[in-house]
C-alpha cells in the first residue's frame, strides 16, 4: 500500500465508501420492498380469510333464521294460516348450507395454500390451526345438516313435539358449528395480530439490519479514512517536524526519501530545498561575517576619521590663529622694515663718520705704542736700581749676623768673668737684641724688595702686553676700516632690500588675507565633515549592529 500513489489511494478509498453506500442503499430498498410485499400479502390473505369467515357467519345467520322461519311456518300452519311453503325454506337453507360448505372448503384450501408459502413458521402453524378449524367447521356443519333436515321434515309434518324435543340437539350442534366458526375467526384475528407483529418484527429487523449496514459502512469508511489518513499524515508529520526543524535553522538533517509516492517526491524536493538553504545559509554566514568585518572596519575608520577630523578642526583653528598672528607679524614686519630702511639710511651717513674715527684711532694707537715703549724703558732702569738696593741689604744682613755672633761671644765672656762680668752681660744682651732687630729689618726690606721686583716684572709684562694690544688694536682699526666700508656697501644694499621687503610684505599681506579666508572655508568644511562623519559613524554603528544582528540570524542555521 505504501507504494501506491496517494491519488490512487484516495480514489480507492472513496470508491469503496461509495460502493458501501450504494450497497447499503440497495439493501435498504430491498428490505423495504420485502416489508411492503410482506405486509400487503398478510393484509390481502388475512382480509380474504376474514371476508370468507364473515360470509360464513352471514350464511350461518341466514340458516338459523330460515330454521326459525320454518318453526314459525309450522306454528302458523297449525293456526291455519298458511304463509308459505316450508319446502322453499328448506331449499334456501340448503343453499346457504352449501354455500357455507363451499366457503369452508375454500377457506381450507386458502389456508393450505397460505401455509405452504407462509412468511414465518408461526404463521404457518396458525394457518394449520385455521385449516383444522375450517375442517372441524365443515364436520360440524355436516353434522348439523342431518339434524336440520330432520327439523325441516318435522316442520313439514308439523310434528311439534318432536320438533321441540329435537330442538336442543340442533341447538347444540349449531352452537358447536358456531363456536368452530368463532374459533376460526378468532384464529384469523390472531393471525392478523400475528401478521401485524410479524410485520413489525420484520420492519424492526429491516431497520436493524439497515442500521447495522449503515454502521458497518460508516465504520468501514472511517477505517479507510483513518488508514489513508495514517498513510498520508504519518510521513507528513515527519516532514512537518523536518520542515519545522529547518524553520528553526537546523539544516543538518535529511528527510527520508525511500518512498516512491508523492511523499517521496516531496522528501526529495525538501532535501533539494535544504541543500539550497544550506548553500544560501553558508553563503549568508560568510557574507554576514564579511559584512560584520567590513562594517567594523568602516566603524573603526569612521571613528578614526572623526578623531582626525576633530584634530584637523583643532589644527585649522590653530592655523587660523597662527595665520592671524602671522598677518599681524607681517604688518609689524612691514612697519619695522620701513623703520629699518630709514635707520639704515641714517647708518649709511654715520658709517662715513665712523670711518674717519677709525683712521684717527689708528694714529692714536701708534702714539700709545711709542709711549708704552718709553714706560718699559723706565721700568727696566728702575729694576737695575733695585739690584743695587739688594746688594746693600745683603751687606747690612751680614753686619747684623756678625754683630749677633759678637754679642753671643761677649755674653760667654761675661759669664766666664763671673760676678764681675754681670753688667757686661747686660750690654752684650742689648747688643744681641739690636743685631736681631737689624736682621729682622733686613728680612722685611728684602721681602718688600721682592714685592717691588715682582711689581716691576708684572709692569714690564703688562706694558709688553699693552704694546701688543695696541698693535692688534691698530690692526683691528684697519680691519674696522675695511669692515665699515663693506658695512656701508651692505647698508645701501640693505636699504634697497628693505624697500623690496616693504613692497613684498604688502603683497604678502594680501596673500595672508586670502590664506586666512581659505582657512575659514577649510574650518567650515571641517565642521561639515565632522558633522557628516558623526552621521557616518552613527550609520556605521547602526550598520555594525545590523551586521551583528544579521550574523545572529544567520547563526541560527546549523549547517
Amino acid at each position: 500500500m505504501n507504494n501506491m500513489r496517494i491519488g490512487t489511494r484516495i480514489l480507492l478509498g472513496f470508491g469503496m465508501v461509495v460502493a458501501l453506500t450504494v450497497g447499503m442503499g440497495l439493501y435498504a430498498l430491498k428490505q423495504q420492498a420485502n416489508v411492503r410485499k410482506f405486509s400487503s400479502e398478510i393484509d390481502t390473505r388475512d382480509a380474504r380469510i376474514l371476508d370468507t369467515l364473515r360470509q360464513i357467519a352471514g350464511a350461518e345467520g341466514r340458516m338459523r333464521a330460515l330454521r326459525g322461519h320454518a318453526m314459525v311456518y309450522h306454528l302458523l300452519a297449525r293456526q291455519r294460516t298458511p304463509v308459505g311453503d316450508p319446502k322453499t325454506l328448506q331449499q334456501e337453507w340448503m343453499q346457504s348450507r352449501n354455500q357455507n360448505l363451499r366457503l369452508l372448503s375454500e377457506l381450507d384450501a386458502s389456508a393450505a395454500a397460505y401455509e405452504r408459502d407462509a412468511v414465518s413458521p408461526l404463521r404457518k402453524a396458525q394457518w394449520r390451526r385455521i385449516q383444522t378449524a375450517a375442517r372441524e367447521s365443515q364436520d360440524a356443519l355436516r353434522a348439523l345438516t342431518g339434524e336440520a333436515e330432520m327439523q325441516f321434515e318435522l316442520a313439514t309434518r308439523t310434528d311439534l313435539s318432536e320438533m321441540t324435543r329435537r330442538l336442543p340437539v340442533i341447538e347444540k350442534l349449531r352452537e358447536t358449528f358456531e363456536s368452530k366458526i368463532m374459533e376460526a375467526q378468532r384464529l384469523t384475528e390472531e393471525q392478523v395480530a400475528l401478521g401485524r407483529s410479524e410485520i413489525d418484527g420484520y420492519f424492526d429487523e429491516t431497520r436493524n439490519s439497515v442500521a447495522a449496514a449503515v454502521v458497518l459502512a460508516a465504520l468501514l469508511g472511517i477505517l479507510l479514512t483513518i488508514l489513508i489518513q495514517r498513510s498520508i499524515t504519518g510521513p507528513l508529520d515527519v516532514f512537518m517536524r523536518f520542515v519545522e526543524q529547518v524553520g528553526h535553522g537546523d539544516l543538518t538533517k535529511e528527510a527520508p526519501a525511500s518512498r516512491a509516492d508523492e511523499l517521496g517526491d516531496l522528501a526529495r524536493s525538501l532535501n533539494q530545498m535544504v541543500v539550497g538553504l544550506k548553500d544560501v545559509a553558508s553563503q549568508a554566514r560568510r557574507m554576514a561575517e564579511d559584512l560584520g568585518a567590513a562594517t567594523a572596519e568602516i566603524l573603526a575608520s569612521t571613528q578614526q576619521q572623526a578623531a582626525s577630523t576633530a584634530e584637523q578642526a583643532a589644527a585649522v583653528q590653530q592655523a587660523n590663529a597662527t595665520m592671524s598672528q602671522i598677518t599681524q607679524a607681517g604688518s609689524q614686519i612691514s612697519d619695522r622694515a620701513r623703520q629699518v630702511a630709514a635707520s639704515a639710511e641714517a647708518t649709511s651717513g654715520a658709517s662715513s663718520a665712523g670711518l674717519q674715527s677709525v683712521q684717527n684711532t689708528a694714529l692714536t694707537m701708534e702714539r700709545i705704542r711709542e709711549q708704552a715703549e718709553a714706560v718699559a724703558d723706565n721700568v727696566i732702569a728702575l729694576s737695575e736700581k733695585t739690584q743695587a738696593i739688594g746688594e746693600i741689604i745683603s751687606t747690612v744682613n751680614d753686619i747684623a749676623e756678625q754683630s749677633h755672633l759678637l754679642a753671643l761671644n761677649a755674653a760667654i765672656e761675661a759669664a766666664a768673668a763671673g760676678e764681675h762680668g754681670r753688667s757686661f752681660s747686660v750690654v752684650a744682651s742689648e747688643m744681641k737684641n739690636l743685631a736681631d732687630q737689624s736682621k729682622q729689618a733686613t728680612v722685611q726690606v728684602r721681602s718688600i724688595l721682592g714685592d717691588i721686583q715682582k711689581a716691576i716684572n708684572s709692569s714690564v709684562m703688562l706694558t709688553e702686553e699693552a704694546v701688543k694690544r695696541v698693535e692688534s688694536g691698530r690692526q683691528q682699526a684697519g680691519s674696522a676700516d675695511r669692515a665699515i666700508r663693506a658695512l656701508t656697501d651692505n647698508i645701501e644694499e640693505s636699504v634697497r632690500a628693505f624697500q623690496q621687503i616693504v613692497a613684498g610684505s604688502s603683497q604678502q599681506q594680501i596673500g595672508f588675507e586670502q590664506v586666512t579666508q581659505a582657512f575659514r572655508s577649510i574650518g567650515v568644511a571641517t565642521q561639515q565633515t565632522a558633522t557628516s562623519t558623526r552621521q557616518s559613524e552613527k550609520a556605521a554603528a547602526n550598520l555594525n549592529s545590523l551586521a551583528q544582528q544579521l550574523r545572529a540570524v544567520v547563526e541560527r542555521y546549523r549547517i
Partner: protein, 190 residues
C-alpha cells in the same frame, strides 16, 4: 668689551709724591723722632734687672739646635762661639771627629755632635757653628747646626730625664734637653 678701570692720574701723582717724602723722612729722621727713640731705649735700659733668686738650682744654658731638636749645655763650659770656621778633616780619626780648627794660633779638635748623639743621618746644614768648650786638659769644639741663644732655667722648670739616654741630665719645660758633656764623651769615646 672690557671695561678698564679709570686711572686718576692726579691722585697717582700725589701718592707718588707722598711716598717720596716718607722715604726721605725715614732716611733722615727729624729731631723729634730721634728723641723718641732714644727715650724709649733709655727707659728700657733704666729698668732694674729682674730680681734673680740666687739659688743653686738656677743654671745658665747655651741652647743650640740639631735638626729640629733643641739641646742645651752649661754656659760655664762654653768659651767661644765661632761661625763657619775652616775645618780640616783628620785622616784615620774616628768618624765622630769632624776635624780640627785653629783658634788663636792653637789647634783644637771639633766633634760632630750629631754623630756623638747618634743622629748620623742628619745632613749638615749650610751654616755651621762651632762651640768651643773648656775640657779637662784643653779646649775642644762641638759642631752644631744653629745657636739659639742663652737661657736661664730654674730648678722648677726641669723635668726628670726619664726614658732618655744617660747623657741627658734633664729636660726643661720648653723641651730643651740639657746634655752632660763628660758623660757623652765618655760613652761615645770609651
Amino acid at each position: 668689551m672690557r671695561k678698564y678701570r679709570e686711572i686718576d692720574w692726579a691722585a697717582t701723582r700725589r701718592q707718588l709724591e707722598r711716598s717720596r717724602e716718607a722715604v726721605e723722612r725715614s732716611l733722615e729722621p727729624d729731631a723729634e723722632k730721634v728723641a723718641a727713640i732714644l727715650r724709649a731705649r733709655a727707659e728700657r735700659l733704666a729698668q732694674p734687672p729682674a730680681a734673680e733668686p740666687q739659688e743653686d738650682q738656677e743654671s745658665t744654658v747655651l741652647v743650640f739646635q740639631l735638626g729640629e731638636d733643641r739641646y742645651g749645655i752649661d754656659l760655664e763650659r762654653v768659651t767661644q762661639v765661632i761661625s763657619n770656621p775652616p775645618c780640616a778633616p783628620v785622616p784615620g780619626a774616628p768618624e765622630q771627629l769632624a776635624g780640627v780648627i785653629q783658634v788663636r794660633g792653637e789647634i783644637r779638635p771639633v766633634w760632630d755632635t750629631a754623630r756623638l748623639l747618634g743622629r748620623a743621618d742628619d745632613a749638615a746644614g749650610d751654616s755651621v757653628q762651632v762651640l768651643l768648650l773648656n775640657g779637662k786638659r784643653r779646649e775642644f769644639g762641638l759642631r752644631v747646626d744653629r745657636i739659639e741663644g742663652i737661657s736661664r732655667f730654674r730648678a722648677g722648670e726641669r723635668r726628670a730625664a726619664q726614658g732618655q739616654p744617660g747623657y741627658v741630665r734633664y729636660v726643661t719645660e720648653d723641651l730643651v734637653a740639657v746634655v752632660d758633656l763628660e758623660e757623652l764623651l765618655k760613652q761615645t769615646l770609651s
